[in-house]
């Protein structure tokens, strides 16, 4: 458990205040990564009603590809861009694998197929790269900022994580609210028939969604990898947290995924910080159950019909 939990582990600050600041800022950083993965889940769910559990597998796989590029070239940035590119490609492949044979089946068949793809990717990764956890290098020195004599857990890399995640969310927000592509994608998700009758190629928009989700998921993977280790199963917990956040956010709301992702990260960071890091999965489960009892349709949802 300890290994896969690394990214929710926090060491002690020097006093109560700095401890709280550490947990809080750590929670925001973590929350943004959870938000990215939740966003990727929602991107696919809102247009196809399929929860793509393979996304963390895709992210893991492309992070390994990034790691290999780093081994060869030593460039963190090149590794990032190649990981994102292969994330897009993998999104395309997974959509074809999961949806095409499932065209006539119901969505639950497709959801189970995404689990199959996840397991397949994990098996393939352990054949190619082995099952032992490896470290993903950081592009910046791993030293926390010192303010007034107190050294915090917040490092330059944390800044990069936060800025990169915020930028990506902003870019996606811009695409969805201000561009023709975004309008076509939203219309295809909300009402495929009216979208088609307006001349939009809905199936192409679905593919764009799977590709975008693949890129966003890969980005989350590369961002989080230096904070933990990378192994075929190392993102399993991220899946649990991101799924929790996506459900709390309403599953079809991009804003909801981001908000609930940050919220989930904060709660996880604070609670595990003051108790024990091994509690993280339990807390996520608790959040999910409370949400499903209190507000099953999610906090930011558009639809009111989802039942559990």
């Amino acid at each position: 458990m300890a290994r896969t939990n690394n990214f929710v582990t926090r060491t002690w600050g020097t006093d109560q205040m700095s401890r709280f600041v550490d947990y809080f800022l750590g929670g925001v950083g973590q929350g943004l990564i959870i938000a990215l993965m939740a966003l990727a889940l929602v991107l696919i769910y809102r247009s196809t009603r399929v929860v793509n559990f393979a996304l963390v597998g895709q992210a893991m796989f492309t992070t390994y590809i990034g790691l290999t590029i780093q081994d060869v070239t030593g460039s963190w940035w090149l590794a990032l861009f190649i990981a994102l590119g292969s994330g897009a490609l993998l999104g395309l492949v997974v959509q074809a694998l999961v949806l095409s044979p499932m065209k006539r089946a119901d969505t639950s068949g497709a959801i189970i197929a995404t689990f199959g793809v996840l397991i397949g990717l994990q098996a393939l990764a352990s054949m190619v790269w082995g099952g032992d956890p490896r470290n993903y290098p950081q592009p910046f020195p791993d030293v926390g900022f010192t303010v007034g004599g107190t050294t915090y857990q917040f490092t330059w890399y944390s800044v990069v994580t936060v800025v990169a995640a915020v930028l990506l969310v902003a870019v996606l927000g811009f695409i969805f609210s201000k561009t023709s592509l975004g309008l076509a994608m939203r219309a295809s998700a909300f009402n495929p028939e009216v979208a088609r009758l307006s001349g939009i190629r809905v199936s192409r928009m679905l593919t764009v969604g799977w590709v975008m989700a693949g890129v966003v998921g890969s980005f989350a993977g590369v961002l989080i990898a230096p904070l933990t280790t990378i192994s075929p199963n190392s993102f399993d917990l991220l899946l649990v947290f991101a799924f929790t956040a996506a459900v709390i956010g309403g599953l079809d709301s991009l804003v909801g995924a981001v908000g609930a992702g940050i919220g989930t990260g904060l709660v996880l960071s604070l609670v595990t910080g003051y108790t024990d890091s091994s509690n993280a999965p339990l807390i996520a489960l608790l959040l999910l159950v409370v949400n499903l009892i209190a507000k099953p349709e999610g906090i930011f949802t558009h639809s009111h019909a989802r039942s559990v």
Binding site: L183, F190, G199, I200
Partner: protein, 241 residues
């Protein structure tokens, strides 16, 4: 005399089957430009099925649909829209979660932004209420406003043929009359071929040039709208008034 004649929409021997149910049997009709062709008939006569088949949402078993010489049968709904045939489906089909303006822009996404703006201005001139509410979500509009929005979205595609499926459904009589009169004016001024499906035969016949009576998936009568409206026997037999 040398004005080029816009083509008509031709539905030729169209048959549609849903499993064992024959929804349409060999339906033939023509919708010429500049005119409103009304398709009337009781519930279940196959009117909506015919419209959805023309728009490419339903595959016919036999027969085809042509716009002039262009074969539409076999094309996808997206391609049919690009050919200039726009359907306003039954039930005020607007996208609730999008704003009024976004709903309209959907109809013209493939066009240049200048052309899109021009089309948008035209629709706002036609339906001023949509211009006033352009940033409101579509589901905050009244039924009549939403029907205007649905028609406006279709017009954003700058169509040559407008297919209207039950625009009067659930609307107050005064609003129905306004909308249908506007449709008739559109047909005249823009040389649109309008195919209007209506259960509300009285109002439809008042504005239509030609009427086609559909009964259990078959065409039982085609003729000038005024004549069909005056045929008491036919009204009793098929239209129920």
């Amino acid at each position: 005399m040398n004005i080029p004649v816009a083509p008509s929409l031709h539905v030729n021997h169209l048959s549609v089957k849903f499993g064992a149910v024959q929804a349409l049997s060999s339906v033939t009709l023509t919708a010429p430009p500049g005119e409103v062709t009304a398709v009337i008939g009781a519930n279940g006569a196959g009117k909506s099925t015919m419209m959805r088949t023309i728009a490419g949402l339903v595959r016919p078993e036999l027969g085809d649909v042509k716009y002039g010489e262009i074969q539409l049968t076999g094309k996808s709904p997206e391609e049919i829209v690009q050919s200039g045939i726009s359907l306003v489906p039954e039930g005020r089909s607007t996208i609730a979660e999008l704003s009024v303006e976004e709903n309209l822009l959907l109809g013209a996404l493939r066009r240049s932004s200048d052309r899109r703006q021009l089309l948008l201005d035209e629709v706002y001139a036609l339906f001023p209420i949509l211009g006033e509410r352009n940033h409101q979500r579509a589901d905050t509009l009244s039924g009549g406003e939403r029907q205007q929005l649905a028609i406006g979205r279709a017009l954003m595609g700058d169509p040559r043929v407008l297919l209207l499926d039950e625009p009067s459904l659930g609307l107050a009589p005064l609003i129905v009359q306004q909308i249908l009169e506007l449709v008739r004016d559109l047909a005249l001024t823009r040389r649109l071929a309008v195919l209007l499906v209506e259960q509300n035969a009285v109002t439809a016949l008042r504005i239509a040039n030609t009427a086609v009576v559909l009964h259990l998936g078959k065409v039982v009568m085609t003729g000038p709208a005024a004549e069909i409206g005056a045929d008491e026997q036919l009204r009793h037999a098929y239209l129920g008034y």
